[in-house]
Symmetry: C2
Subunit: 388 residues, 2 copies
């Protein structure tokens, strides 16, 4: 809203201060004022938890979202997962953010209103929104259903500028308005709260495992048994791979078994590590903090691939010999496109896969962040939006 008004003010100021005053500019400004007033009249009032700047904690905040356009869907948010990237972004760890910031991109909710031309959804449908709410829709990647790799830039669900010049606000809130193309169908068969993390943690691990065709006959190791890691284990097992969890501590051994992992290796135990040297076809690395890849690369087979899906703020250090001696690769993968995200949600419904979650009151979110950073969560916090 503020942003729209500011854009408007600048447009008018520019038109009026022009050395060659042109009535067309003026007319344009007036028509723009009318447009904006129309829009303002129809804004949807909502509330969320927002960070006012990078130094302050999240707190209740009232704001407006746009009225549903012809292709839009208004969603009443039921649940939103807590992703490590939420904390990175409200703290400006990656880049200077847009404040106030309402984080959250693991959203499940019901359709409250649809635009006149919406075809895929009706009021009452259970839906999901992930890490994007728009993209250029014109580049080769967008045309191939790889909107996450939009060559202009995908519009993130929060902390981004929409094409209308208004910042996007995420799922730690009551409502979101999204173009139907970026809304996913969610099955009623699964636990609704436990579906939420599939929209980021789920697709972020599903997509690379599918892209690299990880399955039967492959040995897959998972590094970091958190929100993403536990989903990587579930998908790896579902796809038929032999799954090993590489953990810094022995404390999660029982949980690993419960998740269906076939093996558990404590990385500080030299004998255990010696037993898995040159053994994995793939390692999926979900760690979001700085870490050294040398050890992990030594555990890959010849031609093996270490897939990074976490996003540490500092670069990975990769010794040349760790790659050369065995034709190994370090790859990255980010979320998934819309067709693949729907495929993943359908796969989960069919195979009864959801996240293991801890449902929280939104007032607990900062305590949850602290526990998340320490790895003290099994395996994803999900906010019950009824508590907002």
């Amino acid at each position: 809203m503020n942003c729209v008004i500011n854009t408007l003010k600048s447009a008018i100021k520019e038109a009026l201060s022009g050395i060659t005053f042109d009535y067309r500019d003026c007319a344009y400004s007036i028509s723009y004022v009318i447009d904006v007033k129309q829009t303002l009249k129809h804004m949807v009032q909502t509330k969320g938890y927002a960070a006012q700047d990078a130094q302050t904690d999240l707190a209740p905040w009232n704001y407006e979202v746009r009225e549903v356009g012809p292709h839009d869907v208004l969603i009443d948010i039921l649940f939103c997962g807590v992703c490590h990237s939420d904390l990175h972004q409200i703290r400006n760890d990656w880049f200077p953010g847009i404040f106030p910031m309402v984080p959250g991109h693991e959203i499940v909710g019901r359709v409250a209103k649809v635009g006149a031309h919406v075809k895929k959804f009706k009021v009452g449908d259970l839906t999901g929104v992930g890490v994007m709410v728009d993209s250029c829709r014109e580049c080769d990647n967008c045309k191939s259903g790889l909107e996450q790799y939009c060559l202009v830039s995908p519009v993130s669900t929060y902390n981004a500028m929409g094409k209308d010049g208004v910042p996007t606000y995420g799922g730690y809130s009551k409502n979101i308005v999204v173009h139907e193309d970026f809304v996913l169908h969610v099955s009623e068969k699964l636990s609704t709260a436990a579906v939420a993390p599939l929209l980021c943690a789920g697709i972020t691990t599903y997509s690379p495992l599918r892209y690299w065709k990880v399955g039967k006959g492959h040995k897959l190791a998972v590094v970091g048994l958190g929100g993403l890691g536990h989903m990587a284990v579930k998908f790896g097992v579902a796809f038929g791979a032999e799954v090993t969890i590489l953990s810094t501590s022995a404390s999660k051994r029982k949980d690993a078994e419960a998740l269906g992992a076939h093996h558990f290796v404590v990385t500080s135990d030299e004998a255990q590590i010696a037993g898995v040297k040159n053994s994995f076809d793939f390692i999926i690395d979900t760690v979001s903090a700085k870490h050294d890849l040398t050890l992990y690369l030594s555990l890959l087979k010849t031609n093996g691939t270490h897939i990074c899906v976490g996003a540490p703020s500092e670069p990975y250090e990769v010794p040349a010999f760790s790659l050369l001696a065995g034709r190994k690769s370090v790859a990255g993968s980010g979320a998934g496109g819309l067709p693949e995200t729907q495929e993943m949600l359908d796969f989960c419904a069919e195979h009864n896969i959801v996240s293991d979650i801890e449902l929280i009151d939104i007032k607990y979110v900062h305590a949850a962040f602290e526990r998340m950073v320490k790895g003290d969560v099994r395996y994803r916090f999900v906010i019950d939006m009824a508590t907002l």
Copy 2:
């Protein structure tokens, strides 16, 4: 030689100083002495250029190589290429070396003598020896013709310990004795001196281009137009790829055209770089000094691969987002196995491909190192061993 004698002395000392003196030990030692004496009697006297330690320059050195065993080939060396790794190793850049060290692993020569059971070669044959002279021969990789990735460790042509406990000495010398399995056939059709660099620079670039099936329809960029880089251009063009050279300076533009490259981009020119963002399927990076990969990763297409074949002593720094935003990979590849090295030599004979070389007197080798480090060589120094 010294090493054999030392091993022998230790064995005798250990046998004699044993608390429980056993005649079998003594008998063993005596038979060992006889064996060694037999071997000594049949050592081949030769000479080379050796570094006596990591601080001194290469200088003439007389030494012995083993007499040809039943499966061995004695080669009279004609030419040896000068590889950046030669300098890295005599200076202990990578790991503490074995001194005296005779470098050189781009060897072409004629067979002077063959063992009784040698099948592949006869006296007078033109042959090549690359970066390895042995391997475990029993692991999955050795059995698959990927001896360069031997899981025990390939035995390097120099600066390594052979299975007989004697250090290996390389191609800056008059002779080398190698098991026939690690000797390659070289065609008489090509310029013999210009073939030498194919044994390392050639196979090191040929192998990854083949493994990643780089060819028609692919855009390939080459970083570092030196010994490896110019071979990558030649092979990329021969395989049908559209080849761009990414260079830090404009000075090599003409040479790039002469090598057959389709495009030339100066990386310090922002406009030129903007024109090739997200455009390459593959980048082959031949640079052996520390460098940042961020720029190069931004030039890869979605799903693109940056292939490292140089070996800087310091780790690559790879920002997570450079990989995630576009599902990109950083891979490494080291030399090639024996079947593929022979395939490459045959391909070169068929397509009339050799290295562009500057033939030098061995006394010029340190001046050549200096020019090589500055990139002042078009594109590989080759030592004429007649000058030794």
